[in-house]
Point group: C2
């Protein structure tokens, strides 16, 4: 299955792996992102073992950042003066190879075969190469790489070389390299200077196969240690040598191979970093981690990895019949979401995971809004940890709120360690909805897990401090209506507006639920200083919250006055003028009806209870005509709501757009890292879209319905200690409780109790409605329907 606009697929379609059948040097940077291995703590881009050629060398440690100045043309109170940016740390992936006198480099000699496979069940990246050197020496190289999901500090590589035709001298150099050369560092010369060589050496030691480099970031002053250890097997005489300089540690193995003989190196890598721990402490930490990994051994690391993933898939797998690309994409997506969050452990989950430097490695609202719902129902510990990280940053968020003249907590629009790093406040700090998004993620995690300990220790305080923010941000007008003026909603083509519907509805829930949660835990609420009066003021503000509605045209304006604005001249906008923000000034985008990404439509999904079915249908159709999807965050929400209002094939189109964004490099920026929230969209589009799943207040609701292109959809879920499987076909849905206590569900509004026996329920027929139209040229690519699965 190919798409018209992607002439040649880079990867083969396979349900359980991503296979690159031949090396595409022109797509190297994309593949490095796609083939990233990570556990949420440590991320290794899929760079070639030998380091070159590369698109972007990348080794990242969650939350290890450098600080860079944030220049402003005009100074203003409250503007952050510096930003945080992810840096490429010591590269331990490197194993260079010399065959006779020739360095193994795929750009020279002849490449007979070059296959890479990301195995979604094994959690490994396997590479197989057959190559003849310019001097005519033919070899086979096989490497298997993993970043351990069970041993957080550890990555490992099993590297094997064989000579195929004639004997050869073979020298492998396994390295740790700090301050690698990177491609162009951007326009600001001061920022580029900071990031060119961000690490200052503190130590380089080691002997035998075990070596350690310790560095410190020059401005942010964070210390990191990288260590490596090796197991070598090969024919004697086998000579090894270790050496190091401040930025390089090198372990060299030299031998002579006869045809059929192999040199095999298992390289264990360990990383650690700290803002506080001493050089010796950090050094010892990585040496200890290496010792543990060596004690486990390569085979058992592989086995642990597979076992970890098996358990994950047991509660998370999604099966899709009728669209093999989507089948692959949703598993690829779940794998990368797991990789981004599994071992982040009270650190943030960045927008790109640890797959690249896009967005400076920052985390945004999309983690809470799009990614955590997936994790909450598939790997809830990671959702908990991500929220625990937000909780840890509460002191900074309180400080920011105070700086802005507000009470409660104002979480940063973008950050690595919790400090606001947004340089343009109308599309940054003013997007206060992030605070309600975090609160909502708390509510959804608690709903998905019933984790009372979390609610007491983490959730309540997050709810309270965000509720306080909303109470202070809004005000009652002379008619007693509660207004939230001058903030920015999700759509970045409109900014600093009054009463954004999404923001007001999310704030309303935030206020209501904070009051309820405080009532459930009066002891803790008291400790947080929540008086009955304060909680009452939250309930009152929530009850009086303004939700603008335009009676004239019968739709909700995205924000007050929005529907009075001129409509963007879509017909007069050339195709190559998208994304609009690169070709039109903000001032023009802000004052017209043009929507970058689902905003009111996101409210239709996440705050569905505030709209009638008729309103949802009218609102969705209206905003379809205005939404250009210049943000990768949009398509998934349009998929979910399109499905809900009955545009099932349109939902399928949007689902494909979000699910295939990186595998097909639809936005031509997968090189900078994967779009983790779009990956979440693959799951959201299937489960919330075609599954119609909504979870709240301890109850799961489903309203399943498949588009023409899918013949069957099955997904597994975790919910409050249970495992469920839902299987949907054209005519019915089967609900199966695989583990846990009986549960009440809603199927298209009908309540059932699910216990030991699976329940099969018919899907009510759908009244067809005419499809809405999108702005000229901005309709999603129609998903080709496999004729075998067409209804009729």
């Amino acid at each position: 299955m190919t798409r018209a606009d992607v002439p040649e697929p880079t990867y083969l379609v396979d349900p359980w792996c991503v296979r690159e059948p031949e090396l595409r040097i022109d797509r190297l940077a994309q593949s490095e992102s796609v083939f990233t291995l990570s556990n949420g703590h440590l991320g290794l881009r899929g760079n070639l073992d030998e380091g070159e050629p590369n698109g972007l060398p990348g080794t990242y440690l969650n939350s290890l950042y450098e600080q860079r100045p944030l220049p402003h043309a005009e100074a203003a109170y409250g503007n952050p003066e510096s930003s945080q940016t992810v840096i490429n740390v010591t590269n331990g992936k490197l194993i260079r190879l010399l065959v006779d006198d020739e360095p193994f480099d795929v750009r020279y000699g002849r490449l007979h075969r070059h296959e890479r496979v990301l195995d979604l069940r094994a959690g490994t990246l396997v590479r197989e190469v057959e190559w003849t050197s310019p001097a005519g020496q033919k070899i086979r190289v096989t490497s298997t790489r993993l970043v351990s999901l069970t041993q957080r500090a550890i990555a490992a590589i099993c590297y094997e070389v064989e000579v195929l035709d004639a004997p050869a001298r073979v020298v492998a150099q396994s390295e740790l390299v700090a301050n690698e050369d990177l491609p162009d560092g951007g326009k600001d010369p001061r920022a580029a200077a900071v990031l060119a060589a961000p690490l200052a050496s503190e130590e380089h030691v080691g002997s035998g196969g075990k070596q350690v480099l310790v560095h410190r970031t020059k401005v942010s002053g964070l210390r990191l240690a990288a260590g490596m250890a090796h197991e070598v097997a090969g024919p004697d005489p086998l000579k090894t040598e270790a050496e190091s300089v401040p930025d390089i540690a090198r372990f060299t193995v030299a031998t002579r191979l006869e045809p059929g003989e192999k040199l095999r190196i298992v390289k264990y890598l360990a990383y650690g970093w700290s803002s506080q721990r001493s050089r010796p402490a950090l050094h010892d930490q990585v040496v200890a981690a290496l010792a543990a990994a060596e004690q486990t051994g390569w085979d058992d690391l592989l086995a642990e990895q597979r076992e970890f993933l098996e358990e994950f898939w047991r509660g998370a797998d999604v099966e899709v019949d009728g669209d093999a690309e989507i089948q692959q994409a949703v598993r690829f997506a779940l794998f990368h979401i797991l990789q981004a969050g599994a071992r982040a452990e009270r650190r943030m989950i960045p927008a790109k995971g640890l797959t690249g430097t896009g967005y400076d490695g920052h985390t945004f609202w999309d983690t809470e809004t799009f990614v955590l719902p997936v994790l909450a129902h598939t790997y809830p510990d990671a959702a908990r940890d991500a929220l625990a990280w937000r909780h840890m940053t509460l002191p900074l968020a309180r400080e920011r709120a105070a700086q802005l003249g507000l009470t409660g907590a104002a979480f940063p629009w973008r950050t690595i360690r919790g400090q606001e790093c947004s340089g343009y406040w109308p599309a940054g700090t003013a997007a206060f909805h992030i605070n309600a998004d975090i609160a909502d993620a708390v509510l959804r995690y608690v709903d998905a897990t019933d984790d009372v300990e979390f609610e007491r220790e983490i959730g309540l305080e997050l709810m309270v401090e965000t509720a306080r923010l909303w109470r202070c941000l809004g005000h009652h007008d002379v008619e007693g209506v509660f207004r939230i003026d001058g903030v920015t909603g999700p759509d970045e083509y409109t900014a600093v507006v009054d009463n954004n519907v999404y923001t007001n509805l999310m704030a309303r829930r935030n206020l209501q639920e904070a009051a309820s949660m405080a009532m459930r835990h009066p002891d803790l609420a008291d400790l947080l200083g929540v008086t009955p009066e304060e909680a009452a003021s939250w309930r009152d503000a929530a009850a009086a919250m303004l939700v603008p509605y335009d009676e004239r045209i019968g739709v909700h304006p995205q924000s007050e006055g929005f529907t009075n604005h001129a409509r963007w001249d879509f017909a007069g906008t050339k195709a190559d003028h998208y994304p609009l923000l690169l070709n039109f000034p903000y001032f023009d985008l802000y004052r017209k009806q043009v929507v970058k990404q689902a905003d009111l439509v996101l409210a239709l999904h996440l705050c569905g209870e505030a709209f009638t079915a008729e309103q949802k249908a009218r609102d969705f159709d209206y905003y379809e005509g205005l939404t250009v999807r210049d943000s990768s965050l949009s398509a998934q929400t349009q998929a979910v709501v399109a499905a809900e209002v009955g545009h099932l094939d349109l939902a399928h189109d949007y689902l494909a757009e979000t699910a295939l964004l990186d595998l097909h490099d639809l936005n031509h920026n997968t090189r900078d890292g994967l779009h983790i929230a779009s990956m979440a969209g693959a799951w959201n589009g299937l489960v919330a879209g075609f599954g119609g799943m909504r979870a709240a207040e301890g109850r799961l609701r489903f309203a399943p319905r498949l588009p023409n292109g899918l013949s069957r959809l099955a997904f597994r879920l975790r919910y409050r200690g249970r495992r469920l499987k839902v299987t949907i076909t054209a005519g019915s849905a089967v609900y199966d409780l695989r583990e846990g206590n009986p549960i009440k569900l809603l199927h298209h509004g009908r309540e059932i109790t699910l216990a030991d026996e699976p329940a099969e329920l018919a899907i009510p027929p759908l009244d067809p409605r005419p499809a809405p139209s999108q702005p000229e040229g901005r309709a999603p690519t129609p998903r080709r329907v496999d004729p075998r699965h067409q209804d009729g």
Copy 2:
């Protein structure tokens, strides 16, 4: 007369001069601004002849700028990447003096007397010093400085030294110095680097007393030449010597003086610059200018200067009885307005004139809105030239409009040469009202002069291109109302709003009058491509223009929705938290009812025809409660409208605030240059405020009324070739046509025809209304009423 918050006046109050009776080293930078001499082309700050001590050495040439990068934390389409900034050019004011072995420096030895007088009729700065050197040698130095209003390129200094007690060797070094050391260049190191030594030497030549330095700005590549010539008189033997290096030319005079003997040096200075002319051409230009000045001679330069000013005052003088400070201030103001504009000659009039580097030397809307009305009625040629400069920059304004996706012309919010230099678009580019302000200045100049040639050659095209902008910026909504969404009005504490009343009313006039002017000149309109259809669309948009009104509270919201916003917590805002923009983020200011500067109230003044008297009174009172005057542009408008709605004493308070801003350094930033628009406020407050003068459509209207503190106000005006004098006392006004054809006037709504005989008309009594209140702590300082002039 002293004010409570200014413990000790720096200058004596005198109707025709500003006298500094003793040197205040702590107020040096303020005095340098106050004592600036300029003709609009060349400006010399009032630095001491010997160069040191100084606050800010300053020699400026109108529109000679250097370019500097404009950094943005987040790039966005349409953001200017560089800015223009005024630079300190070659300093020709310097005359250093050595008395025996001691340099004359007021910080050493003993200063017996140090008086400086800015003479507003002579157009000179005179300095008289008596000083005893640390070695005990007593001297008298007298210098008289002028920047010629009649010879644009020329400044001159007459410098005299006498020894008082005992003979002494005296050496005077007269210099030209480029790239002087300046105080701290600001935070951005890249910008500071550019400005530290902006001039590259191209030539340094000369002999005898005549020397020339030619330089070029390093980035903007503008060439400038500065030359000096000398006449020396003193006792023989008198030795002179000339020398030069790339950045310094020096002419040294050495002699020996007996008590009673004098050394007298007349120094002629000439400046020229060009973006195109060659080094030899520019060199010759200044040498020729020097020759002309020498031919004129010092005494005749003085005489020309006085004559020029006499003619100016004949049509411009304002007499104020009852408030001597205001009397001085209004003349000081008119003098500096004249200095800023007289010989600018198709270059801009900067916000600070050529008195300092504040605002980077940029011009803003305030020149058109506040300064040009004064010039149009006192020295109309300068108003014409300033608009001719805007006209010259039309190609850039059209280019900017196109970049922003608009038709017509979008003039820059701030600039030196016409390119947009604003770094923060919500308070820059989005303030499109500048285009209507320019159009309005065209209308007012044409009204004041009936200059048909200007209207045809300059005015029409400015009107047409700005009307085109408005037609394109606004749109008709579904109900046929013409809206202008997403722009910023004058008040910088609210930005990017829909239907700002001031903007819409000014745009309405712009559209209407462009259509009318095009009808008056169909031949030229046709050349500009104005079709009858286009003109009709302007008239239609103007007729359908939305002017929001809040029926609930009976006031005009500053912009749509404004009166729904929360009121700023004035009571909770500490006095030292003003100006608010230094202590609160824009986001908070924007979303609340708090007004930095008159905005709706400016509409009440400039678009008075759109409001009933009752609406004006209600609106004024409402906005009084919200306006904090964190901008120096506010008080004058509040003075004018307070007078109109009958709060005469409040108007007097505001008048004093604008008129005394620099003489009393009320904002503590006079060091950076004078506030030319606030100076204009002295005239506007008196003439438009207490005189009630409005001019439009060839008719002058007056509605004079004095506050308790003034016993008499008389002002002269030029209007369509006439000279008028209006004299107001408590009970009546006398209108006197001093020159020109009979004219019809309105006095408090009653039409009279004024011819040879002065007409005295009674002032109708005023119905007293309760005074409005201002935000806590933000009321203007009450003007102490001189008891001799109180009504009884």
